[in-house]
Amino acid sequence: MKTITIEMSQWAAGIAKLKDAYRVWSPVRENDYHVFKELNKDALPDLDFSNTRLSAKQAIYPQTQKMFEYTLDESRPDHHIMHEAPDTTGPQAVIGIRPCDAAAFLLVQKNFNTPQYKDPYWVKAYEKTTLVGLACNNPCSTCFCTSAGGGPFDEKGLDVLLVADKDQYLAKVLTDKGAKLLDAAGFKDEADAAGAQVTIDALREKADAAINSEIATDQLGAQETLTLYDAPFWEEVAFACINCGTCTYLCPTCWCFDIQDEVRGHNGVRMRNWDSCMFPLFTLHGSGHNPRDTKIHRVRQRFMHKLKYFVDKYDDGIQCTGCGRCVRACPVNIDIRNVCNQMNRFGTCPA
């Protein structure tokens, strides 16, 4: 596939044109942080960021989402019968998503798009989304994507990879979807592919070298589930945890949700909301019994799910892309890199 050159002078006009055909999501600055927002008419992406505070998952998987509508008005013939909430949204583009967040959708897809069941809300939203990635020229100290199956220039799950090079973007077209988007934006200046690749490779090597933390995952699959589950280190890992749920909230690969009915007058909706394994209510039985009633249970569930159960279930790596958000945001400094390494080496001779 080809590579397109986008001069900074073309950028604003291209994004404006893109909004005619797509809803455009992109990082914008809010106070001290960058967050993904759906851009209004005049807004431009702010791509001067290391990574957004929250992941881009909300573009495909909103924090709260209407599933069904119904009426409780018994004079209506369809009272108490659920109807799918109409979906009127068209194609959307996420501009400036980091490779770690794009790769996360591929992991989450394993949960929502299965041979037996398809979650129509997630699957349809993912299908109509074009992901325009932004390669990380300057990764953070908390990034560990290169040992989590990706990298700062990883193309997995992306439709276009933008590489910032001096005062231009090199836009590497990765899929037909991506080509269509660049076309819609009017970005057409084809670069010399070989020359562009040399530039991209040089920047990539520099970025790869800047990742200075890593995790070891090679033994996770071989570990015995119950041995790992009963490992003594969980008490230490969970000791400081306050079960605030921040880690799951901002994680690009956390997908757990709750379903709730809400009624106003006679009109009701059934909706789903992000939920978190950090909360006791997540697993509380009606009887009062709770199978994960201590924070050790809950902290262990989060790490075992990402780093053991997922590994065993899909045999395709860990459920983490190394974005490092949970490391940065945890109020008590629980670090998934340390936990992963402890899990990986558990039971082996320290020498």
Binding site: K118, I259, V263, T283, M304
Partner: protein, 281 residues
Amino acid sequence: MENPYLPYPVRIDEVITETEDKNLKTFKFVFLNESDETKFAYRAGQFAELSVTGKGEIPIGIASSPTEKGFVKFTVNKVGLVSSELHNMQAGDIMGIRGPLGNSYPWDVLEGKNVVIIGGGFAFTTLRSSIIHMLHPDNRAKFGDIHVFYGARTPGMLLYRDELAAWEQRDDINVHITVDSTDDPNWKYNVGLIPPLAEEKAPPGDADTYAIVCGPPIMIKFTQPVLDNLGYDHDHIIMSLENRMKCGIGMCGRCNIGKDFVCKDGPVFTLAEINTRPKEY
């Protein structure tokens, strides 16, 4: 794309109060659209999400048998928001059911085998489904001896009392009913707990005999050593687990024991399988 969260609309056809404490009611549902009944083809041991419009959904084992046509039945304990609302509903009311969900009892494995059913309290619903299924004239020859052990606190707390009495009269099924205690002078069945009764009357374990055990944790805890003594291998002891659920299709993330979801990979597991997973149920 089919929406696996969309319930089939149903009408409550009948509500039966099962127990003397009035906390257990059986709801008989009829599908509003006849074609939905065909789509809801199920096996004994599966469950469904009962959707009370405006309140939410609860996962409940299917108490009717696939051999019973024209309706589906669920017996519901009154516990929380949705089940309490359901207990206030009446024949004629409209709601939804979503399913069938989960894996069911392993009927392919059980074919040609002796089946020992051990149930306690209100965990007898999918066991009723299984018994009706096995006793059906089309199916009875597919199984060896059938034993049923069923206990409740008092005679008035037993579910499906008329059916129990009828099964007790048959010679193609061995039914052992017991209650923890009773002051009823006319009580003609056993008095005492399930484990000693099973120890005395259950057939010994062998390659051709499977036990299906459903009941409160305390019953399961004291029944397992009995089955061990009787020689049941752990892959011949079948259990149905419960956990808090929302989606019922393995997506919402809360009901897992290790890598398996109780809703999608279960709720039925062998004891051998359960032993290799975290006890988070």
